[in-house]
Structure formats: C-alpha cells, structure tokens
C-alpha cells in the first residue's frame, strides 16, 4: 500500500510531484487532514493560512501540469516558527507584547522559499520571544512531544520540532541562539540544521540575541535540509551580517560518502554531563563505529567544555536580549509571561564591561574550535546528553544553570546539524550532533547523510 502523502519526506514528495504522481493540492490536503487529527494534542501550530495555501497549491498543480516545474520545493508545504515574518500574517512571538499588526513583507527566507514554489502554510508555536517558557502567560498553549505527550518537545522552536516529528508537514524553519533548532530536533526525532553564522539572512525575523541567532531547518531527512539550504543560503544586501561566500549545491554532493574524512569524537562533552543517559553514550560510540565502517578516520578530540562556554553564552544572550526588550519591560511588564520577563530582566544587571569580557571569551572559544577543525573535517558529539524532559518543567534560571552541548557552536558560528541517532529506554529519541568548518555545510551534510543512510533512525513513526 502507498504511504499517505503526509508520511512522505520533503524529497520523496518532491520526486512524486515532479513525476506528476502526486499533486501539490493532494499533498496539502493530506497535511491539513493530518494537522486536523493530530495537532489538537500536539499544539504545534500557531496559525494557518489555509485559504492562501490552497490557492497556492492549486496554482502549483496547474503550473506543473503545464510543464512549468520550478524545482524541488515546488508544491511543498512549509511552515515557520512564529518569529519569522510572512507577508500579511501576524508574527506573534507567542507573546501579548506583539501588537497583532500583519507583517508588511516576507522575511528573506520566506521570500526565497515562496519564489522556489513552496506553499506557505502558516506559523508554528515557539517559546515566548525564543527565551520564555510556558507559564500560562502566553497567547498559545504549550507544545507536546509527539513521542510522548507528557514530555516537552525542547525549545525554543517547540512547534517546528513537534510539527515535523509529528508528521504534520514535510518542512519547517526555526531559529537557533544556543541550540533551539538542534536540541528540539533531537528530542522530537528529526533533522535540525543550523548553518554557519552569516550564511542565511535573518532579515524579517524577531531577534533574541542577534550575534548568536541563526535561522535553519527542521526536516525528516538530511536531503530535505540540503534542498532548503540550497534555496535560502547566500548574501542579502539588507542583512549586513550575511557573508559573500559562494554557495555550492549541497544536495548534488550528498552521495560523496565519508571515506577518508577525519572525524573528531568530542566524547568528553556528554561523558562529563551529569544528566547523561547511558543510551546516549552507547549511541554516540555506535555512531563513531558507523563512521569508521564507512571509511572515515575517527579520533577522540577535546573542545572547550560547555561549562567553560556558559559564562560567555549567558552574558551575551542576556545582554543582547535585554537591549531589545528594555523599554517594553518597563512599560508593559505584566504583558510578558512571568518566566519570560524574569529571564529578560536579569540582563538589566549586566555592565558593558561584562559584555566585553564575554566577547573576549567568545573569541577564544571560536579560535579553539577553529583550531581543532584544522585537523578534523567534522566534529561528532551528542546533541543533548539526555532525552526530552518532562512537560512544563522549565525553571526560572535554566539558562544560568547550564548552556547545553550546542551553544558553543553559536558562540563560534560554525555550522552544525542534529540527526536522529537512536532511542533510549524511555522510548524517546536522541540525536547525533555534527559540526564542520565555517561555510562548509557541504561536508557537514555529506557526513550527516552518510550516517542517516547507514542507520535510518529517522524513519520510525511516533505514536502521536
């Protein structure tokens, strides 16, 4: 029996659409039906542009039938973390602070996807302004993990991770300031890509900490991430942080394989984490063995520890986030959720000297990571030391108490990806984290794809 269209990955659906065995209208209808049956429990969706999406899918279906196929995103439904502007839709940031005015234009990434023929389906839930946590003070209810409704999906791209994990649609975008794409991707059993800082424009996206923020992808397969990356990467004259670096076709080189690739196994990252789940450790050793079997050279390597990066990450995040919210905190304190306003307010008590010291530490950390990446092509570790935490278990000072295993690559700006790597005894998925040199997403995706093809952890269906 053929799989229902909602079960297809982006690249599978794309191949069927190109061959005219599946129409964009049928794919969208299947996704909407899936959303209708599952999202009452997950709460991943913030808002849908149902009419606009149906209209776009009908147009795509007609165009493809007339031979005007625009490429692998033509007719593919995509949704966005609700910090990302979509023209004529409200960007809520899941906060009462946002005034409800529709965005005047698409964010850069939305415009690129729309131009490539993607169907802009709507917005996905998020932690309030990407730093808060569900406490009843937000317009949207908290999101549940599709693998177990009593677990959190991971933040802050909660809705994007749960939507892709729950098979609501083939692709979503999120943002990542300290791991907000990669950790929820790992906890929801999907692929999460954070490209190099400066690789993809953040124009039209509400910032958390602009010098750490990245925009990236949630998909079910690495090939899907490569398709989205190809379309979105490249300079934007209206985002001065984007780099003038040529973009290679990352999808075309996916089959290159990892033979001869030098992979550094950052074993101490998870080994030293007090929350380590033994299954994660076993899974990472197994992943290293998979790469060796595929012909890569794997060696243990040391990076600056997450604990050593914590101070720099915390200070930069809180200082930059506070700068963005300072006026609203004074004038509209009670309109933020209580956890959100508390976290932002802590940044008010940092000095300029604190911030400069953090930038200094950051440069040292980035240099150390770059130094290791002169000897290795790819770095391997766990995305998180444990599986998804209990639903609604966020605390006031979570950010101050630990920076996770992912934030070091926000400090350094190197590209990184999380790929499904197994299931723990609690039945929850965990992820393999890979990082590569600046602007070498090609090697990063080649390695991730080789591992995925050898293991296929991402193909299992969640119960919800």
């Amino acid at each position: 029996m053929n799989a229902a269209p909602w079960q297809l990955t982006l690249s599978e659906a794309s191949r069927q659409i190109e061959a005219q065995r599946l129409s964009p209208v049928d794919l969208l209808a299947s996704c909407l039906e899936r959303i209708g049956s599952v999202d009452g429990a997950l709460r991943a969706v913030a808002s849908l542009d149902r009419d606009g999406a149906i209209q776009a899918a009908e147009m795509a279906t007609r165009d493809i039938a007339k031979g005007r196929y625009r490429g692998p995103l033509h007719g593919i439904p995509v949704a966005f973390k609700d910090l990302i502007d979509v023209e004529s839709q409200v960007t809520s940031a899941n906060s009462y602070i946002c005034d409800g005015s529709p965005a005047k234009e698409d964010a850069f990434v939305v415009g690129r996807l729309r131009a490539a023929g993607a169907i802009i389906l709507g917005k996905l839930n998020t932690d309030e302004f990407a730093l808060g946590a569900a406490d009843g003070g937000q317009p949207l209810p908290p999101v549940h993990n599709p693998w177990n409704l009593d677990r959190a999906p991971g933040g802050s791209s909660t809705g994007s991770a749960a939507a892709i994990g729950g098979r609501l649609l083939p692709a979503a975008l999120g943002t990542d300031t300290g791991g907000s794409i990669r950790r929820p991707a790992a906890w929801c059993g999907v692929v999460g890509l954070k490209p190099t800082y400066g690789r993809i424009s953040r124009r039209g996206i509400i910032p958390l900490a602009p010098s750490l923020d990245h925009v990236g992808t949630f998909t079910r397969a690495v090939e899907d991430a490569a398709i989205l990356f190809n379309v979105m990467a490249g300079p934007d004259v209206r985002d001065p942080t984007t780099a003038q670096v040529p973009v290679v076709d990352c999808r075309a080189s996916l089959q290159r394989g990892v033979k001869g690739l030098r992979i550094g196994f950052v074993r101490h990252y998870h080994e030293q984490d007090p929350t380590l789940d033994p299954a994660v450790m076993t899974g990472m050793s197994a992943a290293a063995a998979v790469f060796q079997d595929l012909g890569a050279q794997v060696e243990d390597v040391e990076l600056p520890t997450p604990a050593s990066a914590r101070a720099a990450f915390t200070v930069i995040t809180l200082a930059e986030a506070y700068a963005f919210h300072a006026e609203s905190l004074v004038s509209r304190w009670n309109e933020y959720g209580s956890l959100t306003r508390h976290r932002f307010a802590v940044g008010a008590f940092l000095s300029a000297a604190d911030y400069l010291r953090a930038l200094h530490a950051r440069r040292e950390i980035a240099d150390a990571v770059s130094g290791v990446l002169r000897r290795f092509d790819v770095l391997l570790s766990a995305t998180a030391a444990n599986t998804a935490v209990r639903f609604n278990s966020a605390g006031r000072d979570d950010l101050l108490k630990g920076a996770g295993l992912t934030s070091i690559f926000n400090l350094s700006g190197h590209p990184a990806i999380s790929v499904p790597a197994g299931f723990a005894r609690d039945g929850m998925p965990f992820g393999l984290h890979l990082a590569a040199r600046y602007f070498d997403e090609e090697t990063l995706l080649v390695a991730a794809h080789a591992y995925e093809q050898a293991t296929n952890w991402g193909t299992r269906l969640p119960p919800h």
């Binding site: 780099a243 304190w333 009670n334 209580s338 508390h342 802590v346 008590f349 200094h360 400090l411 350094s412």
Partner: protein, 63 residues
C-alpha cells in the same frame, strides 16, 4: 552601573531599570538570579591585558 554591597541590586536600582511594575516577590526572585549570574561572571577574563581590541568585536566568521 551601581550594584548593592552583596553584588546584587537594591530595590531602587531595580525600579530605576525595570520600573515599578514588578512585584516584591519578583524583585526577590531577580535578586537571587542576579546573584547566580554574578557567580557565573567570575569565569570571564578580566584585566586590561585580556581586553585586547582584537578580541572585542562581535563574531564575524572568516569568509
């Protein structure tokens, strides 16, 4: 910025930065968190030698 003798802000400093809307309990919670933050700050480099101008600029990945 001036902070209180224990390294955490006084009520008047909190009101100056955040306005009068936070409740007394929220000020108390903030005081605890700021104390935690200040303990983390001890892990950052200090001193003129460490603050080389080459290290002060925000991230720009080498192109």
């Amino acid at each position: 910025m001036t902070i209180g003798v224990e390294g955490v802000p006084t009520n008047s400093e909190m009101i100056r930065l955040l306005g009068p809307q936070p409740s007394p309990q929220e000020f108390a919670n903030l005081r605890e968190s700021v104390a935690l933050l200040r303990s983390i700050l001890q892990d950052l480099p200090t001193g003129i030698d460490d603050l080389d101008p080459g290290h002060l600029f925000p991230l720009r990945c080498p192109e």
